[in-house]
Symmetry: C2
Subunit: 188 residues, 2 copies
Protein backbone atom coordinates (compact mmCIF):
# COMPACT_ATOMS: atom_id res chain seq x y z
CA UNK A 1 0.00 0.00 0.00
CA UNK A 2 1.26 3.45 -0.82
CA UNK A 3 0.19 6.90 0.30
CA UNK A 4 -0.35 9.53 -2.38
CA UNK A 5 -0.19 13.17 -1.38
CA UNK A 6 -2.66 15.18 -3.37
CA UNK A 7 -2.45 18.96 -3.30
CA UNK A 8 -5.78 20.56 -4.05
CA UNK A 9 -5.51 24.26 -4.71
CA UNK A 10 -8.52 26.19 -3.51
CA UNK A 11 -8.81 29.14 -5.87
CA UNK A 12 -11.56 31.69 -5.22
CA UNK A 13 -11.76 34.92 -7.24
CA UNK A 14 -8.40 33.99 -8.74
CA UNK A 15 -6.82 34.07 -5.27
CA UNK A 16 -5.03 30.97 -4.02
CA UNK A 17 -6.72 30.81 -0.64
CA UNK A 18 -4.15 28.31 0.61
CA UNK A 19 -1.38 30.86 0.06
CA UNK A 20 -3.29 33.49 2.03
CA UNK A 21 -4.05 31.05 4.85
CA UNK A 22 -0.37 30.07 4.95
CA UNK A 23 0.60 33.75 5.26
CA UNK A 24 -1.98 34.27 8.02
CA UNK A 25 -0.77 31.16 9.87
CA UNK A 26 2.87 32.25 9.69
CA UNK A 27 2.01 35.73 11.02
CA UNK A 28 -0.09 34.29 13.84
CA UNK A 29 2.94 32.19 14.86
CA UNK A 30 5.34 35.11 14.51
CA UNK A 31 3.66 38.55 14.33
CA UNK A 32 6.95 40.21 13.34
CA UNK A 33 6.56 38.66 9.89
CA UNK A 34 3.75 41.18 9.30
CA UNK A 35 6.10 44.18 9.54
CA UNK A 36 6.55 45.39 5.99
CA UNK A 37 8.27 48.28 4.27
CA UNK A 38 7.43 49.37 0.73
CA UNK A 39 9.70 51.74 -1.18
CA UNK A 40 10.55 53.44 -4.44
CA UNK A 41 12.87 55.98 -5.93
CA UNK A 42 11.53 58.95 -7.87
CA UNK A 43 13.47 61.01 -10.38
CA UNK A 44 12.39 64.34 -11.81
CA UNK A 45 12.67 64.37 -15.62
CA UNK A 46 11.57 67.89 -16.67
CA UNK A 47 8.72 70.28 -15.93
CA UNK A 48 5.76 68.30 -14.58
CA UNK A 49 7.22 64.95 -15.67
CA UNK A 50 8.79 62.57 -13.15
CA UNK A 51 9.28 58.83 -12.88
CA UNK A 52 9.14 56.29 -10.04
CA UNK A 53 10.95 52.96 -10.05
CA UNK A 54 9.82 50.11 -7.82
CA UNK A 55 11.76 46.88 -7.54
CA UNK A 56 12.05 45.61 -3.96
CA UNK A 57 10.31 45.67 -0.61
CA UNK A 58 10.66 44.15 2.85
CA UNK A 59 8.03 41.68 4.07
CA UNK A 60 7.87 38.32 5.80
CA UNK A 61 11.12 39.01 7.62
CA UNK A 62 13.27 39.49 4.54
CA UNK A 63 13.98 41.65 1.52
CA UNK A 64 11.87 40.66 -1.47
CA UNK A 65 12.19 41.42 -5.16
CA UNK A 66 9.31 41.98 -7.57
CA UNK A 67 9.35 39.72 -10.64
CA UNK A 68 10.01 42.86 -12.69
CA UNK A 69 10.85 46.49 -12.09
CA UNK A 70 7.83 48.80 -12.36
CA UNK A 71 8.27 52.27 -13.85
CA UNK A 72 5.46 54.74 -13.21
CA UNK A 73 5.24 58.03 -15.09
CA UNK A 74 3.61 61.16 -13.73
CA UNK A 75 3.04 64.45 -15.53
CA UNK A 76 0.48 67.22 -15.74
CA UNK A 77 -1.86 67.82 -18.69
CA UNK A 78 -1.18 70.85 -20.94
CA UNK A 79 -3.95 72.87 -19.24
CA UNK A 80 -1.90 72.52 -16.04
CA UNK A 81 1.36 73.45 -17.79
CA UNK A 82 2.56 69.88 -18.37
CA UNK A 83 3.18 67.57 -21.31
CA UNK A 84 0.80 64.71 -20.37
CA UNK A 85 3.37 61.90 -20.37
CA UNK A 86 1.54 60.20 -17.51
CA UNK A 87 -1.41 60.50 -15.16
CA UNK A 88 -1.01 63.38 -12.75
CA UNK A 89 -0.19 62.84 -9.07
CA UNK A 90 -3.73 63.22 -7.75
CA UNK A 91 -4.98 60.75 -10.38
CA UNK A 92 -2.27 58.35 -9.21
CA UNK A 93 -3.66 58.71 -5.68
CA UNK A 94 -7.17 57.81 -6.90
CA UNK A 95 -5.68 54.78 -8.65
CA UNK A 96 -3.94 53.63 -5.45
CA UNK A 97 -7.23 53.94 -3.58
CA UNK A 98 -9.32 52.12 -6.19
CA UNK A 99 -6.74 49.35 -6.57
CA UNK A 100 -6.46 48.80 -2.82
CA UNK A 101 -10.19 48.72 -2.16
CA UNK A 102 -10.64 46.29 -5.07
CA UNK A 103 -7.89 43.94 -3.89
CA UNK A 104 -9.18 44.12 -0.32
CA UNK A 105 -12.69 43.14 -1.41
CA UNK A 106 -11.46 40.32 -3.67
CA UNK A 107 -9.01 38.80 -1.14
CA UNK A 108 -11.29 38.99 1.89
CA UNK A 109 -14.20 37.63 -0.11
CA UNK A 110 -11.98 34.77 -1.33
CA UNK A 111 -10.95 33.57 2.13
CA UNK A 112 -14.63 33.59 3.15
CA UNK A 113 -15.62 31.60 0.06
CA UNK A 114 -17.59 34.50 -1.41
CA UNK A 115 -17.52 34.43 -5.18
CA UNK A 116 -17.09 37.75 -6.97
CA UNK A 117 -17.78 37.38 -10.68
CA UNK A 118 -17.02 40.96 -11.70
CA UNK A 119 -16.05 44.18 -9.93
CA UNK A 120 -15.74 47.71 -11.29
CA UNK A 121 -15.42 51.12 -9.71
CA UNK A 122 -15.92 54.75 -10.70
CA UNK A 123 -13.72 57.01 -8.62
CA UNK A 124 -13.69 60.80 -8.45
CA UNK A 125 -12.16 63.40 -6.22
CA UNK A 126 -12.80 67.14 -5.80
CA UNK A 127 -9.94 69.55 -5.46
CA UNK A 128 -9.76 73.35 -5.48
CA UNK A 129 -6.52 74.37 -7.19
CA UNK A 130 -6.33 77.59 -5.16
CA UNK A 131 -4.88 75.45 -2.36
CA UNK A 132 -2.03 74.07 -4.44
CA UNK A 133 -1.39 77.44 -6.06
CA UNK A 134 -1.19 79.16 -2.67
CA UNK A 135 -4.02 81.57 -3.60
CA UNK A 136 -6.25 80.93 -0.60
CA UNK A 137 -5.84 79.75 2.97
CA UNK A 138 -9.54 78.95 3.13
CA UNK A 139 -9.40 75.93 0.86
CA UNK A 140 -7.24 72.91 1.54
CA UNK A 141 -4.44 71.82 -0.78
CA UNK A 142 -5.56 68.21 -1.07
CA UNK A 143 -8.78 66.47 -2.02
CA UNK A 144 -11.89 67.86 -0.34
CA UNK A 145 -13.84 64.65 -1.01
CA UNK A 146 -13.32 61.35 -2.76
CA UNK A 147 -16.12 59.05 -3.89
CA UNK A 148 -15.67 55.40 -4.87
CA UNK A 149 -18.71 53.71 -6.38
CA UNK A 150 -18.41 49.95 -6.86
CA UNK A 151 -20.56 47.70 -9.01
CA UNK A 152 -20.17 44.04 -8.14
CA UNK A 153 -21.54 40.85 -9.62
CA UNK A 154 -22.12 38.65 -6.58
CA UNK A 155 -25.03 37.21 -4.64
CA UNK A 156 -27.21 39.87 -3.00
CA UNK A 157 -26.62 38.50 0.48
CA UNK A 158 -22.89 39.42 0.26
CA UNK A 159 -23.26 43.17 -0.21
CA UNK A 160 -23.38 44.27 3.42
CA UNK A 161 -20.39 42.11 4.34
CA UNK A 162 -18.40 43.51 1.41
CA UNK A 163 -19.12 47.04 2.64
CA UNK A 164 -17.66 46.14 6.03
CA UNK A 165 -14.65 44.38 4.50
CA UNK A 166 -13.76 47.43 2.38
CA UNK A 167 -12.73 49.19 5.60
CA UNK A 168 -9.73 46.84 5.89
CA UNK A 169 -8.05 48.48 2.88
CA UNK A 170 -4.65 50.01 3.80
CA UNK A 171 -4.90 52.84 1.25
CA UNK A 172 -8.48 53.58 2.33
CA UNK A 173 -7.30 53.85 5.95
CA UNK A 174 -4.30 55.99 5.01
CA UNK A 175 -6.39 58.31 2.83
CA UNK A 176 -9.37 58.55 5.18
CA UNK A 177 -7.42 58.98 8.40
CA UNK A 178 -4.07 60.37 7.30
CA UNK A 179 -0.63 59.25 8.37
CA UNK A 180 2.60 60.88 9.39
CA UNK A 181 4.63 61.91 6.33
CA UNK A 182 8.17 63.10 7.02
CA UNK A 183 9.79 65.10 4.23
CA UNK A 184 13.50 65.95 4.20
CA UNK A 185 15.31 67.96 1.52
CA UNK A 186 19.09 67.95 1.29
CA UNK A 187 21.50 69.15 -1.35
CA UNK A 188 22.83 66.60 -3.79
CA UNK B 1 6.98 102.40 -38.30
CA UNK B 2 5.61 99.02 -37.38
CA UNK B 3 5.10 97.29 -34.08
CA UNK B 4 6.39 93.75 -33.74
CA UNK B 5 4.91 91.56 -31.05
CA UNK B 6 7.54 89.30 -29.63
CA UNK B 7 6.52 86.46 -27.38
CA UNK B 8 9.30 85.47 -25.03
CA UNK B 9 8.63 82.22 -23.25
CA UNK B 10 10.05 82.16 -19.75
CA UNK B 11 10.90 78.53 -19.08
CA UNK B 12 12.27 77.63 -15.64
CA UNK B 13 12.81 73.98 -14.63
CA UNK B 14 11.07 73.01 -17.86
CA UNK B 15 7.89 74.79 -16.71
CA UNK B 16 6.42 77.51 -18.90
CA UNK B 17 6.03 80.12 -16.19
CA UNK B 18 3.80 82.22 -18.44
CA UNK B 19 1.29 79.36 -18.61
CA UNK B 20 1.23 79.07 -14.83
CA UNK B 21 0.87 82.83 -14.37
CA UNK B 22 -1.98 82.84 -16.89
CA UNK B 23 -3.73 80.08 -14.92
CA UNK B 24 -3.21 81.98 -11.67
CA UNK B 25 -4.51 85.20 -13.22
CA UNK B 26 -7.63 83.50 -14.58
CA UNK B 27 -8.38 81.93 -11.18
CA UNK B 28 -7.86 85.23 -9.38
CA UNK B 29 -10.42 86.79 -11.75
CA UNK B 30 -12.83 83.86 -11.38
CA UNK B 31 -12.12 81.56 -8.42
CA UNK B 32 -14.63 78.98 -9.67
CA UNK B 33 -12.13 78.05 -12.39
CA UNK B 34 -10.06 76.41 -9.64
CA UNK B 35 -12.74 73.81 -8.85
CA UNK B 36 -11.48 70.58 -10.35
CA UNK B 37 -12.59 66.97 -10.40
CA UNK B 38 -10.26 64.11 -11.27
CA UNK B 39 -11.60 60.66 -12.04
CA UNK B 40 -10.92 57.15 -13.27
CA UNK B 41 -12.58 53.81 -13.73
CA UNK B 42 -11.09 50.67 -12.25
CA UNK B 43 -11.79 47.12 -13.37
CA UNK B 44 -10.86 43.97 -11.51
CA UNK B 45 -9.07 41.48 -13.79
CA UNK B 46 -8.36 38.44 -11.57
CA UNK B 47 -6.93 37.73 -8.11
CA UNK B 48 -4.80 40.70 -7.03
CA UNK B 49 -4.72 42.19 -10.55
CA UNK B 50 -6.81 45.23 -11.46
CA UNK B 51 -6.57 48.07 -13.93
CA UNK B 52 -7.42 51.78 -13.86
CA UNK B 53 -8.17 53.88 -16.93
CA UNK B 54 -7.81 57.65 -16.89
CA UNK B 55 -8.86 59.81 -19.81
CA UNK B 56 -10.71 62.94 -18.73
CA UNK B 57 -11.09 65.41 -15.89
CA UNK B 58 -12.89 68.64 -15.09
CA UNK B 59 -10.86 71.80 -14.56
CA UNK B 60 -10.92 75.45 -15.61
CA UNK B 61 -14.71 75.39 -15.88
CA UNK B 62 -14.93 72.61 -18.46
CA UNK B 63 -14.37 68.95 -19.19
CA UNK B 64 -10.84 68.27 -20.37
CA UNK B 65 -9.28 65.30 -22.14
CA UNK B 66 -5.78 63.97 -21.60
CA UNK B 67 -3.68 63.71 -24.78
CA UNK B 68 -3.80 59.94 -24.31
CA UNK B 69 -5.59 57.43 -22.12
CA UNK B 70 -3.48 56.19 -19.20
CA UNK B 71 -3.81 52.57 -18.10
CA UNK B 72 -2.38 51.74 -14.68
CA UNK B 73 -1.90 48.15 -13.54
CA UNK B 74 -1.97 47.03 -9.92
CA UNK B 75 -1.25 43.56 -8.57
CA UNK B 76 0.37 41.92 -5.56
CA UNK B 77 3.72 40.10 -5.60
CA UNK B 78 3.72 36.28 -5.31
CA UNK B 79 4.64 36.44 -1.60
CA UNK B 80 1.34 38.29 -1.11
CA UNK B 81 -0.60 35.80 -3.25
CA UNK B 82 -0.52 37.82 -6.48
CA UNK B 83 1.05 37.56 -9.92
CA UNK B 84 3.11 40.79 -9.92
CA UNK B 85 1.60 42.33 -13.06
CA UNK B 86 1.94 45.81 -11.55
CA UNK B 87 3.05 47.70 -8.48
CA UNK B 88 0.82 46.99 -5.51
CA UNK B 89 -1.70 49.53 -4.21
CA UNK B 90 0.42 50.85 -1.34
CA UNK B 91 3.37 51.29 -3.71
CA UNK B 92 1.03 53.24 -6.02
CA UNK B 93 0.22 55.50 -3.06
CA UNK B 94 3.92 56.15 -2.44
CA UNK B 95 4.29 56.98 -6.14
CA UNK B 96 1.41 59.48 -5.98
CA UNK B 97 3.05 61.15 -2.98
CA UNK B 98 6.55 61.30 -4.49
CA UNK B 99 5.23 62.57 -7.82
CA UNK B 100 3.12 65.28 -6.20
CA UNK B 101 5.84 66.55 -3.89
CA UNK B 102 8.28 66.63 -6.83
CA UNK B 103 5.90 68.53 -9.10
CA UNK B 104 5.02 70.94 -6.30
CA UNK B 105 8.69 71.74 -5.67
CA UNK B 106 9.49 72.13 -9.38
CA UNK B 107 6.47 74.34 -10.21
CA UNK B 108 6.68 76.61 -7.17
CA UNK B 109 10.43 76.99 -7.61
CA UNK B 110 9.87 77.87 -11.27
CA UNK B 111 7.43 80.72 -10.63
CA UNK B 112 9.90 82.14 -8.09
CA UNK B 113 12.79 81.89 -10.56
CA UNK B 114 14.57 79.22 -8.50
CA UNK B 115 16.54 76.87 -10.73
CA UNK B 116 16.43 73.17 -9.86
CA UNK B 117 19.05 71.27 -11.83
CA UNK B 118 18.19 67.79 -10.53
CA UNK B 119 15.76 66.31 -8.02
CA UNK B 120 15.47 62.75 -6.72
CA UNK B 121 13.62 61.13 -3.84
CA UNK B 122 13.78 57.92 -1.84
CA UNK B 123 10.38 57.07 -0.42
CA UNK B 124 9.46 54.34 2.05
CA UNK B 125 6.46 53.48 4.15
CA UNK B 126 5.96 51.11 7.08
CA UNK B 127 2.91 48.90 7.27
CA UNK B 128 1.96 46.01 9.56
CA UNK B 129 0.00 43.49 7.51
CA UNK B 130 -1.95 42.31 10.60
CA UNK B 131 -4.15 45.38 10.04
CA UNK B 132 -5.08 44.48 6.47
CA UNK B 133 -5.47 40.79 7.34
CA UNK B 134 -7.82 41.62 10.23
CA UNK B 135 -5.52 39.85 12.73
CA UNK B 136 -5.16 42.69 15.22
CA UNK B 137 -7.15 45.71 16.29
CA UNK B 138 -4.05 47.24 17.84
CA UNK B 139 -2.29 48.01 14.57
CA UNK B 140 -3.75 50.22 11.90
CA UNK B 141 -4.58 49.00 8.39
CA UNK B 142 -2.71 51.71 6.56
CA UNK B 143 0.79 53.12 6.65
CA UNK B 144 2.14 53.81 10.13
CA UNK B 145 4.77 56.20 8.76
CA UNK B 146 6.00 57.45 5.41
CA UNK B 147 9.39 59.05 4.82
CA UNK B 148 10.33 61.05 1.72
CA UNK B 149 13.99 62.02 1.42
CA UNK B 150 14.81 64.44 -1.40
CA UNK B 151 18.20 65.22 -2.87
CA UNK B 152 18.19 68.41 -4.90
CA UNK B 153 20.79 70.15 -7.03
CA UNK B 154 20.11 73.83 -6.39
CA UNK B 155 21.79 76.75 -4.66
CA UNK B 156 22.12 76.27 -0.90
CA UNK B 157 20.07 79.37 -0.12
CA UNK B 158 16.96 77.75 -1.64
CA UNK B 159 16.70 74.72 0.65
CA UNK B 160 14.63 76.23 3.46
CA UNK B 161 12.16 77.78 1.02
CA UNK B 162 11.78 74.45 -0.81
CA UNK B 163 10.96 72.75 2.50
CA UNK B 164 8.16 75.27 3.06
CA UNK B 165 6.88 74.96 -0.52
CA UNK B 166 6.62 71.15 -0.25
CA UNK B 167 3.69 71.66 2.12
CA UNK B 168 1.58 72.94 -0.80
CA UNK B 169 1.45 69.46 -2.35
CA UNK B 170 -2.14 68.17 -2.68
CA UNK B 171 -1.19 64.50 -2.19
CA UNK B 172 1.01 65.41 0.79
CA UNK B 173 -1.95 67.23 2.37
CA UNK B 174 -4.36 64.40 1.60
CA UNK B 175 -1.99 61.74 2.95
CA UNK B 176 -0.85 63.69 6.01
CA UNK B 177 -4.26 64.99 7.05
CA UNK B 178 -6.71 62.53 5.52
CA UNK B 179 -9.86 63.30 3.58
CA UNK B 180 -13.40 62.04 3.47
CA UNK B 181 -13.65 58.91 1.30
CA UNK B 182 -17.17 57.69 0.55
CA UNK B 183 -17.44 54.09 -0.62
CA UNK B 184 -20.63 52.63 -2.06
CA UNK B 185 -21.12 49.06 -3.27
CA UNK B 186 -24.10 48.11 -5.41
CA UNK B 187 -24.93 45.02 -7.42
CA UNK B 188 -24.17 45.08 -11.13
Amino acid sequence: MSTVAVEVKRIVNGVNVGDVEELVGAIQQNPQLASSRFRLTNKWINGGHNQSRISGFYSGGEDQQHLQEFVLEADEPPVLAGTDKGANPVEHLLNALAACLTTTLVYHAAVRGIEIRALEADVEGDIDLRGFLGLSNEVRRGFENIRVNFRVDTDAKNIELLKALSKLSPVFDTTQNGTNVGVSIARM
